[in-house]
């Protein structure tokens, strides 16, 4: 048996031997966590609107996002956010909270290397790919939208 065959057989065996994450549990946890974060966001929005009814929906939405971001940064700084994320998985990082955590955690971690080469250059170490993806996909959608608009 040559090495390639051996490896193929071994990888198949490893795949079957490795424990799988229970998909139902993962989905359920993500649903609970994601829903909680979204409900919190809605709640902040409703509270703001009840105090300042003149604000338009976009501004209210921006404010509730800001509150979630600040809250996440505090939770990250106090070392609680990673525990929530361990439970909630994608439910925790798909809302804006995940983005805030990825930047805040890098800023904390790389502070020791100084403000410029530490915080400054490594803050987007995890969030960078998300930004690049966001921009790239918006560009694609924009081009498609533009082409559709021609007809």
């Amino acid at each position: 048996m040559n090495n390639e065959e051996r490896n193929e057989k071994y990888l198949e065996y490893v795949e079957q031997k490795s424990p799988k994450a229970g998909w139902f549990n993962s989905l359920f946890h993500a649903f609970v966590m994601g829903a909680t974060i979204c409900c919190l966001g809605q709640m902040f929005g409703d509270i703001i609107r009840s105090f300042y009814p003149v604000l338009d929906l976009l501004t209210v939405g921006a404010w509730s996002s800001i509150i979630i971001i600040v809250l996440t940064i505090f939770l990250t700084a106090f070392g609680c956010f990673d525990r929530l994320a361990k439970y909630g998985g994608a439910g925790t990082f798909i809302p804006i909270s995940g983005f805030a955590n990825s930047i805040a955690s890098c800023a904390i971690e790389f502070k020791k290397e100084g403000l410029v080469f530490g915080v400054g250059s490594k803050m987007f170490y995890v969030a960078g790919p998300v930004l690049v993806n966001g921009v790239a996909y918006s560009l694609i959608v924009g081009v498609v939208y533009f082409i559709i608009g021609l007809f």
Binding site: N7, V14, S18, G98, S105, Y125
Partner: protein
């Protein structure tokens, strides 16, 4: 030194392990082996500003204490051998600059403990040196930053992942002084690659390396698992050790009864470390605590320590390369 078979060596000098000291972090200290460790440090920064500085101080404390325990004057220690997981072996390098003992840095990832014992024994067997301190360790927080994500970054680990051990182990080996614990033989491992590229599944990547080294040792010495009281792998974790047992079974060796894995035994199941411990400090701290104390008391007589190491870097991993692994074996005997 005599060569047996293809890759095993038997030492002709009387090489004794005259002291062994282990230091671990709070999480390891709360595990099932807590009464065996010499030091449990609740503060994993050791009062320093960064985890990296803390790791160095852990090395310094462990090594100084091992030398003190050996009752050999520091000036009579001929060599400090060892390594860690940090890039450029910084933790060992900085420790060596504090210790002022001639230093040789070694890197075989988590197999460095067995590697340093082997290299140390060979130096001693050459008769030029008399006392050598071998030390290896790792730190959860520094390894996490170098190999994975920031500590506070919220993500889920794979169900087959492991947890890097915060711990250091230091052993003083000598031909000048004697003790009842001897290093008799060693098998130097070959780098093996069975194609596993998932960095979270270290156990599966390293298990074949451990199997190849152990099979080579059995073949070279014409012995089987029945001739030894304990076979201990370094840090395969639960999944990795299950795979290792399967692989050994395939080769005709049933090691179920006298086999343990240091990574699997260092944490309790409720400590949320998934498949158990990993890291260079894993076999180093377990060998210098649990295993040495059992050898000292005579409960164990012949122990095979097989430290296992995954030799990738973050760059090769991101470029999609599979993980080359190594396992080194030492035969340690207690004479009572």
């Amino acid at each position: 030194m005599k060569k047996l078979g293809s890759q095993t060596y038997s030492f002709e000098s009387d090489i004794s392990i005259i002291s062994g000291v282990s230091l671990v972090g709070g999480k390891e200290g709360a595990g099932p082996l807590k009464k065996y460790f010499d030091f449990v440090e609740e503060d994993d920064k050791m009062g320093q500003k960064t985890f990296e500085k803390g790791e160095r101080l852990m090395f310094l404390k462990t090594i100084s204490s091992a030398i003190k325990k050996s009752k050999v004057e520091k000036d009579n220690i001929d060599l400090y051998l060892g390594g860690d997981l940090m890039n450029q072996l910084v933790s060992s390098n900085y420790t060596a600059s504090e210790l002022n003992i001639p230093f040789v840095g070694l890197y075989n990832a988590c197999a460095t403990m067995a590697e340093s014992l082997i290299v140390g024994s060979i130096f001693l067997d050459s008769k030029g040196m008399k006392n050598i301190v071998c030390a290896t360790g790792s730190h959860f927080s520094t390894a996490e930053r170098q190999y994975r994500y920031p500590l506070e970054f919220g993500n889920q680990r794979q169900s087959y992942a492991q947890w890097t051990v915060t711990g250091v182990g230091a052993t003083v080996v000598s031909t000048e002084k004697t003790s009842n614990i001897k290093i008799k033989m060693a098998t130097i491992g070959k780098v093996t690659d069975y194609g596993v590229s998932d960095i979270a599944n270290m156990g599966a990547a390293m298990a074949p390396a451990a199997m190849e080294t152990l099979v080579a040792f059995f073949t070279d010495t014409n012995t089987t698992q029945k001739d030894y009281d304990l076979i201990a792998t370094g840090d395969l974790g639960k999944l990795g050790s299950d795979i290792f047992k399967d692989l050994m079974m395939e080769k005709g060796y049933d090691i179920e009864t006298n086999y343990v894995d240091c990574g699997h035994m260092i944490f309790n199941i409720d400590q949320d470390t998934l498949q158990g411990g990993s890291g260079a400090g894993c076999s180093a701290s377990v060998f210098n605590s649990y295993i040495l104390s059992k050898l000292r008391s005579g409960e164990l007589k012949k122990v095979l320590l097989i430290s296992t190491g995954a030799l990738m870097s973050t760059t090769t991993n991101q470029q999609g390369d599979s993980i080359p692994c190594i396992a080194h074996l030492v035969l340690v005997e207690g004479e009572n």
